[in-house]
């Protein structure tokens, strides 16, 4: 997936292959500009225009959806695949009531009457644990707290019982206690309805609490993919080591945090070889070639051989 810009072609997402199983939660983690949001927007056809080009294949329930006409995608979006955005204040329209906005989506995809859709909106608000839903349904977004707005967004996303829910930093704008409520709600709803979730976040802690599998992205490319256990306890990519080491811990105080030198790179000047090489402590000659994703279930894109990775990881763990 790339954008043509005045400064040149930007490959915002480059060679990402991943899958989401039924009922599974996949976490996509990375820093700003790593392509984690753009990758999901592009598969939904939310990024279009003469400057956008997308290559590859996206299959949903076995059917190719990439490049389908917008009319067909519209039937899919919101109904089978729903999205929750980071900032519920900008994702909701300030000039309509919350109930109207939920009902609009329901009426778009079903044959329910206006009144039935309104009733369904009340039921959905109740389902996401908004107190006094029959009064709240007629209120405007600004009358909701941040946590309640995000609940309303979730209610809207769930309105047509999607089989895949894409949540883009759904708790980043929220406080810890509210974040806990929202993550718990998502887990409950998933259990009840068996839907799949893709959770995009920069927070390794959140990933560690909710994801079944994890995709670590850097500079638009996947760096490591594996189960939560594999990525967090047996990480194989130096970038993942850095991400994990940089998180201050709650249970003990480390003298110094592990840092990754430098800054996340601009997608405009990704080096030809390994994208992470300029910031990597373990770079060597091979890194001037781009490493492929290697492995069977637990994959990573790093040239170090397995024994060496194991040894380095042990050293880092020892040091912290």
């Amino acid at each position: 997936m790339s954008f043509a810009t005045r400064a040149g072609v930007v490959r915002a997402v480059d060679g990402l292959s991943m899958s989401v199983g039924r009922g599974e939660t996949v976490g996509i983690v990375g820093e700003s500009g790593s392509g984690k949001s753009v990758s999901m927007y592009s598969i939904l056809g939310l990024l279009r225009g003469p400057n956008v080009s997308i290559e590859g294949r996206v299959r949903f329930n076995g059917q190719d959806i990439l490049g389908r006409p917008d009319r067909e995608l519209r039937a899919l979006r919101g109904k089978d695949i729903a999205m929750i955005f980071q900032d519920p204040m900008t994702a909701l329209t300030p000039v309509y009531t919350v109930g109207w906005q939920i009902a609009e989506q329901i009426r778009q995809h079903t044959d329910l009457t206006k009144r039935q859709a309104h009733q369904r909106a009340i039921d959905l608000l109740a389902e996401v644990a908004i107190p006094d839903p029959s009064r709240r349904v007629n209120q405007y977004p600004h009358e909701f707290s941040g946590g309640m707005r995000q609940r309303a967004m979730i209610a809207m996303a769930l309105s047509c019982e999607p089989s895949l829910l894409i949540a883009d930093e759904p708790t980043t704008a929220l406080d810890v206690t509210t974040q806990a409520q929202i993550l718990e709600l998502l887990a409950e709803l998933q259990e009840r309805r068996g839907s799949s979730i893709v959770l995009i976040t920069h927070d390794m802690g959140v990933i560690s609490e909710v994801a079944d599998r994890v995709v670590v992205m850097y500079a638009g490319r996947p760096a490591e993919i594996g189960t939560r256990q594999e990525v967090i306890r047996e990480a194989r990519h130096p970038y993942t080591w850095g991400l994990l080491g940089a998180v201050p811990r709650l249970d003990s105080k480390r003298a110094r945090l592990v840092t990754i030198p430098g800054n996340p790179i601009s997608p405009l000047d990704v080096p030809p070889g390994c994208a992470f090489a300029p910031r990597c402590t373990y770079r060597h000659d091979r890194c001037s070639d781009r490493p492929p994703m290697r492995g069977t279930d637990h994959l990573d894109a790093c040239w170090l051989d397995d024994a060496e990775k194991e040894q380095r990881r042990a050293e880092i763990e020892e040091a912290s």
Binding site: V176, A180, G205, S208, E209, R233, D251, R256, L257, P261
Partner: protein, 325 residues
């Protein structure tokens, strides 16, 4: 000079707001009767959720906002009630680092100019002395001295926060009040800035008041921690015991739901998800402000407000029924 660098005594800050639809104005208490001391060379962390009054408290301490009542004492002399002119000599001794490195640097001035401004305001010396000091500060915070003539937009978030830190250190302050200094940064960059702040503290003997919402970050940097809820301190004490065995049910709940890496070393814990939202500060609950959300609240909590009392080992808690360990 005494060991206590900053003494905050019963500081209250009210804001007067218009009540929509009801007419007239009413008072919102953003900070209510907060007292604590910071000792020279230590880092006191203040943690709390949005709207708990932690930033207002920071602004009251450095006298960017006048307090409604209470006193702030810096190096033994009271700051509250001083005129702007009288405050000026104290200002250079306590500096603020802001949260947003994009909004806190003037986009139309070069970074050298930005870092030099406090030096010029406080008549640090001649132009060449100021120039030399700016170079020294750039080196100190790990920035390239060749980038002095550039503008803020040419720097990344982490570099901008280094510029903000350089500016705050320009006048050799004793106390640095950092209000969410790393919350706008990516985690790898956040770690760099936290390490830098620790190095600077060691090198320059700084005292920090570190305000943040991120529990992990606060634990990492702080010697002692204060937890705020609805404008008040609900618990305070040395960082390790506070995190390992919180006394206040709010602290306990907060810690239990903070996301943590499950890397096999994390403590096992029971999640306590507290329901509801933080109440409107204009309409504070009676008694203990936390009682409507508290899992162990009893009748007494609805009526009688608990005060912050000593609980041994330098710990303080404002709860009628603190958790027993």
């Amino acid at each position: 000079m005494s060991d206590v660098i900053l003494r905050v005594d019963n500081v209250t800050k009210n804001f007067s707001v218009r009540r929509p639809g009801r007419g007239g104005r009413s008072q919102i208490q953003a900070v209510g009767g907060v007292s604590f001391e910071i000792r020279r060379g230590e880092t006191l962390g203040i943690v709390g959720e949005s709207g708990c009054g932690k930033s207002t408290l920071a602004r009251c301490i450095v006298q960017l906002l006048p307090v409604t009542s209470g006193t702030v004492e810096f190096n033994g002399s009271p700051l509250t009630g001083l005129s702007r002119r009288q405050l000026r000599p104290h200002r250079r001794e306590m500096q603020l680092v802001f949260q947003d490195p994009f909004a806190s640097l003037n986009p139309r001035r070069t970074v050298a100019d930005i870092v030099a401004e406090p030096l010029r305001v406080h008549r640090f010396g001649t132009r060449s002395e100021i120039e030399a000091r700016v170079r020294e500060l750039f080196t100190l915070v790990g920035l390239d001295v060749n980038s002095l003539v550039r503008y803020p937009h040419e720097f990344s978030g982490g570099q901008r926060q280094r510029i903000g830190i350089a500016r705050s250190l320009a006048l050799n302050p004793q106390l640095v009040v950092a209000d969410e200094p790393v919350s706008a940064l990516d985690v790898s960059v956040q770690a760099q800035v936290l390490n830098l702040m620790a190095e600077l503290q060691e090198k320059l003997g700084l005292t920090y008041l570190f305000i943040a919402h991120d529990l992990g970050v606060v634990r990492h940097v702080s010697d002692r921690v204060g937890v705020m809820y609805l404008g008040e301190l609900v618990e305070m004490g040395p960082a390790d015991p506070l995190y390992d065995a919180p006394l206040h049910p709010y602290t306990e709940a907060l810690l239990s739901v903070a996301p943590e890496l499950d890397d096999g070393r994390a403590r096992t814990r029971e999640r306590i998800v507290i329901s509801g939202d933080v109440p409107d500060p204009a309409d504070k609950p009676s008694g203990c402000a936390f009682h409507p959300r508290c899992p162990v609240a009893q009748d007494r909590c609805r009526i009688e407000k608990p005060s912050l009392i000593h609980a041994g080992d330098g710990r303080l808690v404002a709860c009628h029924f603190p958790r027993r360990r």
